[in-house]
């Protein structure tokens, strides 16, 4: 997944709606299902039923819930403090044992406890960045897709320019100038994800805008704002939901990578997965694999869980 942040949607060039290259992309809800509110609800119920019968989705949700619980109730779960004082520290560099499930690090801290506490920062930052980018991207995408014309033209070019650089590089560039704090990191990641979201939403809006119900709303003389928010938006919610879950996955990945590169806005000794890996991965070759392996597994499991959820929602939304 590395820097494939923009991936899913790179397959379709901004304007090819003929589907020649539209492969993994999310198709807009098919027109027949959308008109009546009751029908829509029924479709949703059906989708929800299908979702919960999918093992991938259930597995994803279980893992995700586990980490959310860790983030919320870490103090109750973790056997030790994330940064115990010297009298309470365990012996340094202990391999995993019953006393220290994931072993201890160089400073004698319990790795298991740090992994539990480490869920907190990433589970606050990643979804926040995803929410911001999805809100911004939806607004921009609605405007671009509905009005088209010069505003669409200009924004499309800017989006294209931003997408020509790996997110991680632009993030490093921006953070080197803006300084590093959690807030800056969240907004930077959100800003860098916005173009992708915008592009996805825009192509969904374009597809919707050609449909009868939009045309008739226009003919009725409804305002642009009303048409966008009341007519089009409800019909592209599934696109937006999928986009949000996908972005959460990428945000976890990107923020963990930034942390690893000491640019994630989190300062030691705060427990943080990416940072903990950065501090300890060099010990692997000395045989101390536990302080880095467990946070690494935590990142991987969280990203996989989010992706399984996103994938499943995407799948049912296409039915």
């Amino acid at each position: 997944m590395a820097d494939v942040t923009t991936d899913d949607h790179m397959a379709d060039k901004p304007d090819d709606l003929d589907g020649t290259t539209e492969i993994v992309d999310l198709e807009p809800v098919s027109p027949g299902q959308v008109d009546a509110g009751g029908e829509r609800r029924q479709v949703r119920r059906e989708r929800r039923r299908l979702l919960f019968r999918s093992p991938a989705f259930v597995f994803g949700v279980v893992v995700l819930s586990f980490w959310v619980i860790c983030a919320l109730f870490g103090d109750l779960i973790a056997p030790y403090a994330a940064n115990p004082t010297s009298d309470l520290r365990g012996p340094a560099r202990q391999a995993p044992s019953l006393d220290y499930l994931f072993g201890t690090d160089t400073a004698g801290r319990d790795v298991f406890s740090r992994v539990i506490f480490g869920a907190r920062s990433i589970l606050i930052m990643a979804p926040t960045a995803a929410v911001i980018s999805v809100i911004a991207g939806t607004l921009l995408g609605l405007v671009m897709g509905y009005f088209r014309g010069w505003i669409d033209e200009i924004l499309s070019r800017i989006i294209e320019a931003l997408l020509s650089i790996p997110v991680i590089l632009i993030a490093l560039l921006a953070l080197s100038v803006l300084g590093q704090s959690r807030v800056v990191v969240v907004f930077t990641v959100a800003a860098l994800f916005t173009p992708v979201v915008t592009r996805t939403v825009r192509s969904s809006v374009l597809a919707e805008a050609q449909l009868d119900y939009v045309t008739s709303a226009r003919l009725r003389g409804e305002s642009a704002l009303f048409t966008m928010t009341r007519e089009i938006l409800p019909n592209i919610t599934s696109t937006i939901v999928v986009e949000f879950t996908v972005r959460v996955g990428y945000a976890v990945f990107t923020i963990a990578t930034l942390s690893f590169l000491a640019s994630g806005g989190v300062q030691p000794p705060t427990a943080d997965w990416g940072l903990d890996i950065a501090e300890t991965f060099q010990l692997i070759k000395a045989g101390q694999w536990w302080p880095s392996l467990f946070p690494a597994l935590a990142i991987a499991s969280l990203v996989i869980a989010v992706n399984l959820v996103a994938d499943s929602i995407d799948r049912v939304s296409k039915l």
Partner: protein
């Protein structure tokens, strides 16, 4: 005791030499300290051997040469002997810290640059086999006048620059003037521009602003910027811009992101090196990827590594550890002029929270010795660690001091540091340890260069230097064989690295006494007072001196390293 020999020696020697011989003969210093100090003031090894024999060899009262120095955690070894008739030819690849800036001999500030520069350029004063200073480079001999204010260095004959011109005392004079102009931390105030008389091309005569008993150290390998560069160099010249040198290696190519390649220099005055080329490969993170490269066999030697992350090398049968004598340490500075730490009781309180032994054990698995909030290492000929009582962890006392200073509710502060070796871990430990006494510290780790510029010594305001420093932080100090640089730059009023903003007239005048002291007794007295002042006032917390670790694969022999990053390989070979 052979009084006759001793007397004749006394007659031939100058005043400073006589004092030293006297101190040794009376048992005030041991043999090892006598030899160390004798080397500094330019006594030859045979001469010192004669004195030792005259005083009855090592059986005199002060002798302890058979046991390891107290305080060094292991026998300090900085070199492996050259193999007799080692295989000639080949390339030696050395993992080196990536230079943080241009290869500018005057402006460089990091071990990465030091080592690359020192392959081509030499110093006035080189190393002896024990890793202390010795007449192995451009000066073959040096002597002070009676009060130590004028020092005469005799230069090696027949030394040529790689461009074919002769090396003379004019090159030494020009280099020293450039050092003075750049405010070099070690020599600031010791001598001024134009201090070197170069009228005799083979004699460099230094006239100092005041007496100084340690001058040879200040123009040796241990003042890395004092590499002797040609007259044609000027401020801003770089090795890769103007490749030259008197040393054994000639720079072939340099790429800042991969490293430097040197080949044997035909114009080197000494014995030709056995190797054909050396490949100095640079690593942004020498203690991490550099160690991996060493473990995986991609490189033959490694400039430096830490205990943390280097366990695989320390335990390997294919790797020879080199641990040269080292006074490398970390200083936890606390701003003394303004802010929460301006009250000495607060600084003492923080120092009292340090669990020093636990730090040494956890961060260095014992390869370090506990510090006592001053910068005098026990291996110095003129210092005895027992003279200043060791500060131990005492949380109750720390709390008491904090409340006396009016901080019953505790103190919140940011602890700044760079991302270098064990320093972030040390910061974490300090935060946890200090919390118990009511310090609420948060760590701020930045890249080392950013940290230097933003927290440690911001350029503005420029006067006094470092007055823009953060309130609290941890900074790294590399090895110096004598603490003059540490004292001069970091602790003296207006010192260029004085991030504590420590201004203490008593300290300054004692430091002046120390610098001017040329007899071992005067040096010892001044050093002990300085250490006592520092321990009492705590402008810096100092938790440990750590071993500097370097080494090479067992296939390599004949390499000598210093704790300032140098890897000298002119005698090395690879089987």
């Amino acid at each position: 005791m052979d009084w006759k020999h001793l007397d004749s020696a006394r007659r031939d020697a100058g005043a400073i030499e006589v004092d030293l011989i006297e101190a040794y003969a009376q048992g005030k210093i041991n043999r090892r300290k006598f030899v160390k100090r004798g080397t500094v003031i330019g006594l030859s090894v045979p001469f010192m051997g004669g004195i030792i024999a005259a005083c009855g060899g090592s059986s005199d009262g002060g002798g302890d040469s058979s046991t390891a120095e107290p305080g060094t955690s292991a026998a300090a070894v900085g070199s492996t002997p050259a193999a007799g008739g080692g295989a000639a030819g080949g390339t030696l690849t050395i993992a080196n810290q990536k230079p943080s800036g241009p290869l500018d001999p005057i402006a460089m500030q990091d071990l990465g640059s030091y080592n690359i520069l020192a392959q081509s350029f030499e110093f006035l004063v080189g190393l002896n086999d024990e890793g202390d200073i010795g007449p192995s480079m451009l000066a073959t001999d040096w002597t002070p006048n009676d009060d130590g204010s004028v020092w005469t260095f005799t230069l090696r004959e027949g030394v040529k620059w790689q461009d074919g011109s002769d090396f003379t005392s004019a090159d030494v004079a020009a280099t020293m003037d450039r050092l003075v102009a750049s405010n070099n931390a070690a020599i600031a105030g010791v001598f001024e521009a134009g201090a070197v008389d170069s009228s005799d091309p083979l004699k460099a005569v230094f006239t100092l602003t005041a007496s100084n008993g340690n001058l040879p150290y200040l123009v040796s390998v241990f003042n890395a910027q004092s590499v002797i560069t040609p007259v044609s160099y000027e401020a801003g010249s770089t090795l890769d811009g103007m490749p030259n040198g008197t040393g054994p290696w000639k720079l072939d190519s340099y790429d800042p992101s991969t490293g430097a390649i040197f080949s044997r220099s035909d114009s080197y005055w000494g014995e030709a090196p056995l190797l054909d080329t050396i490949n100095i490969q640079v690593f942004a993170d020498i203690g991490g990827t550099g160690v991996t490269a060493m473990q995986g066999g991609s490189v033959d030697a490694i400039q430096q590594f830490s205990v943390v992350g280097g366990e695989g090398l320390l335990g390997s049968g294919d790797f020879t550890v080199l641990a040269p004598p080292s006074a490398a340490h970390r200083e936890i500075w606390m701003k003394t002029d303004t802010g929460q730490f301006s009250d000495p009781r607060v600084r003492q309180a923080l120092a009292l929270t340090f669990n020093r032994q636990a730090m040494v054990d956890q961060l260095f698995t014992g390869r370090a010795i506990v510090g006592n909030d001053h910068v005098f290492a026990d291996f110095l000929p003129f210092f005895d660690a027992a003279a200043v009582p060791q500060r131990e962890r005492d949380i109750e006392m720390a709390k008491q001091l904090l409340s006396d200073a009016g901080f019953e509710g505790g103190i919140s502060a940011q602890l700044n540091c760079g991302d270098l070796q064990e320093i972030p871990d040390l910061a974490n430990i300090i935060v946890a340890d200090a919390a118990e006494a009511g310090f609420n510290l948060t760590v701020n780790v930045e890249s080392q260069d950013t940290f230097y510029g933003n927290q440690w010594c911001p350029a503005e305001p420029a006067d006094p230097p470092c007055s823009g420093a953060a309130e609290l932080g941890i900074v790294d100090y590399g090895h110096r064989p004598v603490p003059d640089t540490f004292l001069n730059a970091a602790l003296k009023s207006g010192g260029v690295w004085n991030s504590s903003q420590y201004f203490n007239p008593e300290f300054d005048s004692t430091f002046e006494d120390y610098q001017r002291a040329v007899t071992i007794e005067d040096q010892t007295a001044a050093a002990t007072s300085l250490a006592t002042i520092l321990n009492d006032e705590v402008p810096i917390g100092m938790a440990y001196f750590y071993d500097y670790l370097s080494g090479h694969s067992t296939a390599v022999t004949g390499m000598q390293v210093t704790a300032l990053g140098h890897t000298f390989v002119q005698k090395a070979s690879k089987s």
